[in-house]
């Protein structure tokens, strides 16, 4: 397993014990859970920053043992070849942005990266050129996030560790930073481990997500399946659940942008509010689960600009209401979760196999470009 990550850990914490057994070769792995579930502990243990003697178990990446308490192996962080991007960024305050970015260049050179080429590539990908001469203290939150990400990338890491990369940013900044993360994922192809309490970023970035509760793994699945599980959805929907789907821009009109869903744009067409992005480019769309209407027939004379035929694949009780999972017809995208009341489920006779129409206002769909 060239980029396989193997974790078998037991870390006693104040309130509970973090216990995890996990092996994966997925390129982008997410760890989801409420705050205080042991996510950051896990990330810091993988990074080698948390090194208390009570940590037992093993961590292997790409065949190298970073930790093996039985064989008394515990590599220090500087020997783990990681790129760590903490929530508080930890930029060095006494040097310029450029020097921050170059802080790991010695390691990059040791691991046979062309440091200069990587630097130019990172600066271009993350649009860091205008920031290079700035002092760290003058950067905004989104800029700090980009610089911290760039610094990690410039150090030639074999694994990127991201701690809540978007959660600390407000909604506007998220829209600006997410595309950079996607570009990093697709451009540099470095495996990532992302921990977050926010389902949004995990859905947008990860191929597999582990759910943690009080230090225990309760599930491990692709994000769309994980977050719609009856036991996970309530945790994921504390601030309203958003279905996240990729799309490709097709055309712009005066008051709208048309896109087609899917990584390759082979899915159905959807209209959203205008976004400044070239036709042919990709973007991420967020469909709030409580802003989608379900209709059993196609109505005319509605203001909703998007009426998509779909088929119900499942109806799951969540607390006092239900979520219906609806698979859009004619494409292989993950089903969308739609919040519905028990009355609606009964009156519309929503059950697996039922053909429906999903109604969405253009303004309810969030575009992250």
């Amino acid at each position: 397993m060239e980029n396989g990550l193997e974790i078998k850990l037991r870390v006693p914490l104040d309130q509970f014990v973090l216990k995890l057994e996990y092996t994966s070769a997925q390129p982008v792995i997410g760890v989801f859970g409420p705050s205080g579930c042991g996510k950051t502990t896990l990330l810091e243990t993988v990074a080698g920053i948390r090194r208390t003697p009570s940590i037992a178990g093993a961590i292997r990446f790409g065949g190298t043992a970073w930790l093996d308490s039985e064989r008394r192996v515990n590599l220090p962080p500087q020997q783990r070849d990681i790129g760590y991007v903490p929530q508080d960024h930890l930029l060095f305050p006494h040097i310029s942005v450029k020097k921050n970015l170059l802080a790991g260049q010695a390691r990059a050179a040791r691991s046979h990266h062309d440091a200069e080429e990587t630097f130019n590539d990172v600066v271009q990908t993350l649009h860091l050129e205008p920031l290079l001469g700035r002092e760290v203290a003058t950067l905004s939150g989104g800029e700090r996030q980009r610089v911290a990400l760039g610094r990690a990338l410039c150090s030639g890491p074999r694994l990127l560790l991201l701690d809540e990369p978007l959660a600390s940013l407000d909604i506007t900044l998220r829209r600006r930073v997410l595309p950079f993360l996607l570009k990093v994922r697709d451009r540099f192809r470095i495996p990532m481990l992302i921990v977050s309490h926010d389902p949004f970023e995990l859905q947008a970035l990860c191929t597999e997500v582990i759910a943690l509760r009080r230090g225990q793994m309760i599930a491990c699945e692709p994000p769309a399946r994980l977050f719609t599980r009856a036991d996970i959805y309530p945790m994921a929907a504390t601030h309203g659940f958003e279905n996240v789907l990729p799309a490709i821009v097709t055309t712009h009109a005066a008051h709208k942008t048309s896109v087609r869903l899917g990584e390759d744009g082979s899915g159905p067409a959807v209209n959203v509010l205008p976004v400044e992005i070239e036709p042919g480019e990709r973007l991420m769309l967020g469909f709030p689960a409580n802003d989608i209407l379900v209709a059993t027939e196609r109505f005319d004379g509605l203001s909703a600009r998007n009426i998509l035929p779909a088929t119900i694949t499942d109806v799951r009780p969540i607390d006092s209401h239900f979520i219906a999972l609806a698979q859009l017809d004619g494409c292989a995208l993950d089903p969308l979760a739609v919040e519905v009341t028990p009355d609606a489920v009964e009156e519309l006779a929503l059950r697996p196999g039922k053909p429906v129409h999903l109604l969405m206002k253009s303004s309810a769909i969030r575009a992250y470009s």
Binding site: A47, P77, Q78, I82, H94, A106, R107
Partner: protein, 230 residues
Amino acid sequence: MELEPVVAVILSTLAWALLSTVAVMIVGVPLAYLLARREFPGKRAISAVVSLPMVLPPTAVGYLLLSLLADNGPLGKNTLGIDLDILLNWKGVVMAYAVMSFPLFVRTARVSFEAVSPRLEAMSLTLGRGRLRTFLIVTLPLATRGLIAGLILAFTRAMGEFGATVILAGNIPGRTQTLASAIYSAQQSGNDHRANILLATALGLGFVLVYVTERLTVLPGFKTSRLLGR
């Protein structure tokens, strides 16, 4: 007029204070860092011993050092087999200066190291830099302001040292006489003129040092935000 011996006293006092400050820095920086960052057995005891000269009468410290270094003391020539030759010469002055100013420096340096976020150091490690490089590139620059303040404190404390110095090195004009002991001698022998010149010099030097310290703390390069690690 007897200006020449006065200049000689001032120059040698400055030179000895400088030497002692360098010695204090060389031993004090690593010790302060260890006290700020690491837990080890005997940490509290070491911390207390280091601070002792600050609370003891300087003459007591001088007498203690004298007993240690006397011919038959634990560090004397009859015990060690070699003569360190510290007593009653300039090395005695530098030693008294260093021991008396050491606690001031270590305390200031420790606080400035503690103010540097350990997470910034951990961050530096994850970028592939070793502990020593991290210390030199991250910790030291972020603690600079406090370290410089500590060095100035140590230097001024050394300049003013009297009690321990006269016991360890004596008050020998032309050999171990310092600014402090020269003023004492001049006053005792009724040489008011000489005492006044020395006093004016002490005032002038003190003013310059305090002024420089104040300027340093408002220099644009020394922002307090640097210390907070954000």
